[in-house]
Amino acid sequence: MAEPGTVQEVVRVQPADVAVDPAVAGLIYLEARLADEARYSEWESLWADDGLYWVPMHPGDDPEVTLSYIYDNRRRIKSRVAQLNTGTRHSQTPPSVMRRTISNLEVVARDEDTTTVASNFALYEYRYAMTVWAGRYVHRVQLTDAGPLLVAKTVHLVNAGGALPTMSFLI
């Protein structure tokens, strides 16, 4: 332990990389708005062919051995949207009224054409009453000739360890 009054040597962490490409940020915000507005097919069109939509139960879980709340490959994303589009997905009929805000965008990885952005979100869902959802998003976005595409979206809910209300909207 350091003596009182002395300065300890600390490892300084670097400030976040907030230089998010506007095209990438634009996709993240569009994805949020289409989900909020229950524009399911348009939301689906943002996904790359190998997209993965994941809501784990704990940060650091290995989806090969641990159950997740959602672990949708591209095919299941399509099924999820198809079910929502029937109009008889009772838990989203009518769709919840929602708005979410996304903030604290940080680039956590980037290579030639792909950027991974982490952010915080708060989502207000009104159905029979107001439910507040919050957590951390990790979006992996690929810039292609056809525009930016969503390769992966992971949602770490702050309350993932507790009992969740029905969550059949697009979180």
Binding site: V55, M57, H58, D61, P63, E64, V65, T66, L67, S68, Y69, I70, Y71, R76, S79, R80, A82, Q83, N85, T86, G87, T88, R89, H90, S91, Y128, G161, G162, A163, L164, P165, T166, M167, S168, I171
Partner: protein, 429 residues
């Protein structure tokens, strides 16, 4: 003049709330009924608590609640699994606050009292302050163990009452359903090690349980899945299939797909019609363990779809249990059933559980919604009754229980409620 409505709170004669083919809405809404259920069913009766595979190593523990009471299920250094009250015997602090973990002892952070994972009190700081008083009662100050605890097929059940019927008497015909699940494992062991999804339902716990053996609702509640995603494994139209519903007695009941699967003589219908070539190691292990004929039959018959009163549902390749919070709120827990040494099946099972079950599941999310609307609808006090007469005239009794060959018959519900009324009236179940 201002009229203030008093809350409706009436003592209920529970036996008057249940008739052979209808039940009074108060069974779902009354706080008094709920309190009586917690006492008679959840504290005095046998309830499912955990599966032994959740605490495979010495020192492993999980925390649970039985009728609202916090419990620790711990495997002691002697290898014995115990269901212990999660309450420091000193001042009552909740001792163990993690969902699960491994620890040789539990130390209370309040005054440092320490208990072995077998429940024994092993340490009291500054003991001298008690003089001789502590030594006299030290043996009695271990963690309180559930008065009764028994297992079947690794499923640990407990009762907080010291006397009553044995677990085997309680399970009765339902042991066959557990056996049927174990038959799908080459070692006859299963693992509930992938974690539990927790889904908060705004409805009564019995609605969550009963719905699991309701063969009538799928065509309506789940139409969106069959319309947009994939057809049901076999038709939900009763006249098209040989699917039975069965009241097994003691409140247990099931939807039995086996006759239809056997008629089709096709393996894995219950598992997305997986071709056996896609699971060669698992099939080989099954054949090595059981012989080709028995393995084939097990893979045709598939897992149980069986409700074990009051809080265990063998949901095919999932296990579901419920924690009632109050008359209108319930947490449903769902875990996939994994098979030791069959990774090619297990990862697929995880994906199937996520697809169907839990708060975002293609099926269960809608059951949660319908349950909530059911609870809202029951706030209307007239009509007073809920109708459960479907198939009453076509039930047939045989050695397996009370059977109806129309899968949409409300036979399971009638069995549930008859038993429920008996238990609440004081006959030990």
């Amino acid at each position: 003049m201002t009229v203030t409505a008093a809350p409706v709170s009436r003592p209920h004669d529970v036996t008057a709330l249940v008739e052979p083919d209808r039940v009074h809405g108060a069974v779902y809404t009354s706080p008094e009924v709920f309190e009586l259920e917690m006492k008679r069913i959840f504290r005095e009766g046998w309830v499912f608590v955990a599966h032994e595979s959740e605490v495979p190593e010495k020192g492993d523990y999980v925390t649970r609640r039985i009728g609202g009471e916090p419990m620790v299920v711990a495997r002691g250094k002697d290898g014995v699994v115990r269901v212990l009250a999660n309450r420091c015997t000193h001042r009552g602090n909740r001792l163990c606050n993690a969902e699960k973990g491994n620890s040789s002892s539990f130390r209370c952070p309040y005054h440092g009292w320490t208990f072995g994972n077998d429940g024994k009190l092993v340490g009291v700081p500054m003991r001298d302050g008690y003089g001789d008083r502590l030594n006299a009662v030290r043996e009695e100050l271990g963690l309180v163990q559930a008065p009764r605890q028994e297992s079947y097929g690794g499923f640990v059940f407990a009762s907080l009452a010291p006397t009553g019927i044995s677990l085997l008497e309680h399970l009765g015909n339902a042991t066959k359903a557990i056996d049927r699940l174990l038959d799908l494992s080459p070692t006859r062991e299963i693992q509930l090690s992938a974690g539990w999804m927790k889904h908060h339902n705004n409805c009564n716990w019995k609605m969550v349980m009963e719905n699991n053996v309701d063969g009538y609702h799928a065509l309506f509640t789940h139409a969106s899945v069959y319309d947009a995603v994939r057809p049901a494994k076999v038709s939900h139209v009763p006249s098209k299939v040989e699917v039975l519903v069965r009241d097994l007695g003691n409140g247990h009941s099931e939807i039995d797909y086996e006759p239809e699967y056997t008629r089709l003589d096709e393996e894995f219908i219950w598992y997305g019609r997986l071709p056996r070539e896609k699971a060669p190691e698992y099939v080989a292990a099954m054949e090595a363990a059981h012989g080709p004929a028995k393995a084939h039959q097990a893979l045709v018959s598939g897992p149980p779809h069986t409700l074990i009163f009051p809080n265990l549902f063998l949901a095919e390749m999932n296990v579901m249990t419920v924690e009632p919070l109050n008359a209108g709120e319930t947490i449903a827990f769902t875990a996939p059933v994994l098979i030791p040494g069959a990774p090619e099946i297990n990862t697929k099972t995880l994906r199937r559980t996520e697809g169907a079950m839990g708060p975002a599941g293609f099926l269960i999310a809608d059951d949660g919604e319908i349950g909530q609307r059911n609870q809202m609808g029951l706030a209307a006090q007239d009509p007073e009754w809920v109708v459960l007469s479907r198939g009453s005239d076509t039930d047939v009794d045989d050695e397996t229980g009370r059977v109806n060959h129309d899968k949409s018959a409300e036979t399971p519900q009638r069995g549930w409620w008859k038993h429920w009324a008996g238990v609440l009236a004081g006959s030990r179940g």
